[in-house]
Symmetry: C2
Subunit: 414 residues, 2 copies
């Protein structure tokens, strides 16, 4: 509902609270603590909580991607309203623009972007290998050309730590080489071993007050390499373990196999993070294997392309069938968009390239994702994940036939 | 501040309030009433209130432009939060996309765009003559090609009334020919007389329940034509009078002269609307001549181009000097943007083409405009408009030297 404006407040010339919290978190030791609160009896799923200097984060959880310091089109208040508890920032992008030192001088990433809750920053590895030109890897690090202006940059594991320290991230990732799919065995092996040496170097330059540091397990599609890498990294003192190199074009079946090999090798009481994944089906599968954290551009990027998640399947809002459809995107949804706007309006503003289209679609898709996550958390808490899974399958069956059947074949739980 | 999410509400499957108000205003008689509450002693400025079926609107007031059914980048709630009381919708654009009949079937423009307060729709005249191709005017109406797909359309004064009726606008405008600057005398005269005949035809097809209908005074830059047109139109039974054909490229001095000729010829107790104007200086000048309503794309379009209004002048946020500037746009401003974001952040997201940039800049510029309007209203109410004007001049002097001096020369009030 529409609110009244406070013209008294508007007329106040002072700005006492404006800068008060901008520098609040500088020079503090970063706290990081992970607690498992409940374990599912039928799968490896677990409910937990990560505590950081910027508040706590329930797990399992999904982090939307705030590439350049904004989850595209939304304000931090809107993210919180749809249930987001933490976001991901892209080190590669922020290093290039506006530069980590600029952000550091302005009080760190939280203050810069007006986000008070936890931030996980990636290492830039994925972007260096997917976006930049003329990459050259050496034992020391990686030389690459910016995708923006072609300027040359050299990043080492140590430098990437320094960048994330300057950003005042809550959770930092080690620099890794993210190899494409498919990659030959020997290349995958050499790359994985280099990533392991880089991870060790990252640990060696840790300082008091640094972000929590997560390692990234690589090894391509090769089981022995994934196993070797997991064993090597769990011997080191990381505060979390990510599974990297997935969702890079490999078939779903391979991704799921790799997860099934790798996840059981990770320490039980340390958070596990599946990078760049994925669809609700992927997330449900991985949660039941014991994954705690996810990030993906899928809900936000799809939204900007007019592709919406609904309880009865995907919807492409541009379709002519919605031209005079007065219903909300999803009759079951209570997001801001579904409470106030029709499919017809959303189609109209999508087709006319209105900025509001990206906003309303993003709100809806993120609400869908966060409600899904919240439902999963509650199901674990209330010991009914088995039921949640069955209902999810029933609902999605026929809508996206490949995924649920695949889950059924690969999982032995129910 | 960040709010907590209500997960109980998120989980509720019902949507009882979703469509409740969508069709609330159909089949009602449109009410329209204008009351002058106070007159300034030193100028022609007046404080008033317009009442409509969608609530009241204080005057003088400024209406942001919601071209295609959205004030670009903002939600209705955000408009209300910055103090907006009414918006303008473009009949030309809405007629072409998604079509007025579609909007009508979906419950009218208010329901379609989720805006509960007053809407003024223009007649499309300005867009037909500025945007469309191959215009051909006859006594009957105007044939033109859509700027989108080249399709041919024929609009008459009666058709334009029907479109605005179908949109369920609160205030409709008559179809007019908006001539360019400069236009020869004979052309301006013939066009003005055609517009007058069209205005008469518009009145003749009025129905009970129609929007309030405003006439548009044309006549180019010619004093006798403006006078002739004013005299002709005030004899007819319109609920408001607009001054059209200004802000089309003519020098400020000419625009102000025309206003000074025309405004005194308009009926005292009927709202006066200056279409497509303008800068804060233009608005202040016109309000002191007795104008009540304004619309303009300036604050919103400038915002998307990174041009911001501040209490100390204009600011182009892309400038390198703001790269590490931790201050808000305007230290005196309490808008959402100024409370939470630095110039450095706003520059960063403007340069990286983030959608949030358009949003935050639009919030700031509209807040600036609406605070200016509210300040003017309060000054009239409290009998200190003379003081308001002097302070405004002092503040702007040197910042935009042309305008304040011009006001000084043309106005005899202070």
């Amino acid at each position: 509902m529409i609110k009244n404006i406070d013209f008294i407040a508007m007329a106040m010339p002072c700005s006492f609270f404006r800068n008060a919290k901008r520098y609040a978190h500088s020079d503090k030791n970063m706290a990081f603590h992970f607690t498992i609160l409940k374990r599912d009896r039928f799968s490896k799923a677990r409910l937990g909580r990560i505590e950081t200097d910027h508040g706590s984060l329930s797990t399992p959880n999904f982090l939307p991607v705030g590439t350049l310091g904004t989850v595209k089109s939304l304000t931090p208040e809107e993210l919180v309203e749809v249930g987001v508890e933490a976001i991901l920032g892209n080190t590669y992008h922020l290093y290039l623009k506006p530069g980590h030192e600029t952000i550091g001088r302005l009080g760190g990433l939280h203050a810069f972007i007006h986000w008070e809750k936890p931030i996980l920053t990636d290492s830039g590895g994925y972007q260096i290998f997917s976006l930049s030109k003329l990459r050259k890897i050496s034992e020391d690090g990686v030389t690459f050309q910016s995708h923006i202006d072609g300027s040359t940059h050299f990043l080492t594991p140590e430098k990437v730590m320094e960048i994330q320290r300057t950003l005042e991230s809550d959770i930092a990732m080690v620099l890794d080489e993210c190899i494409p799919f498919p990659s030959p065995y020997e290349y995958a092996k050499a790359s994985m071993r280099l990533t392991t040496r880089w991870a060790k170097r990252s640990l060696q330059v840790r300082r008091e007050g640094d972000p929590a540091l997560f390692a990234i397990i690589q090894g391509g599609t090769y089981r022995d390499l994934r196993e070797e890498n997991s064993q090597a990294l769990v011997l080191m003192d990381f505060q979390g373990y990510a599974i990297g190199g997935l969702s890079v074009g490999e078939p779903k079946s391979i991704m799921r196999e790799i997860l099934e090999w790798t996840t059981p090798l990770l320490p039980e009481n340390i958070p596990r993070y599946l990078m760049g994944v994925g669809t609700p089906e992927d997330i449900l599968h991985a949660i039941m294997l014991g994954i705690d954290l996810f990030d993906c551009v899928l809900p936000t990027r799809n939204a900007r392309n007019g592709l919406l998640f609904t309880s009865s399947g995907k919807m492409s809002i541009k379709q002519a069938q919605y031209a005079e459809d007065g219903r909300p995107i999803d009759e079951m949804c209570l997001c801001y968009t579904c409470r106030h706007y029709s499919r017809a309006y959303l189609r109209h503003i999508y087709l006319t390239h209105e900025i509001l289209s990206s906003r309303l679609n993003t709100i809806h898709n993120l609400y869908y994702y966060m409600k899904f996550i919240k439902g999963l958390q509650e199901a674990i808490q209330e010991e009914r994940l088995q039921d949640f899974y069955k209902k999810f399958r029933q609902q999605r069956e026929g809508l996206d036939p490949e995924c649920p059947i695949h889950i059924q074949n690969n999982w032995g739980y129910f």
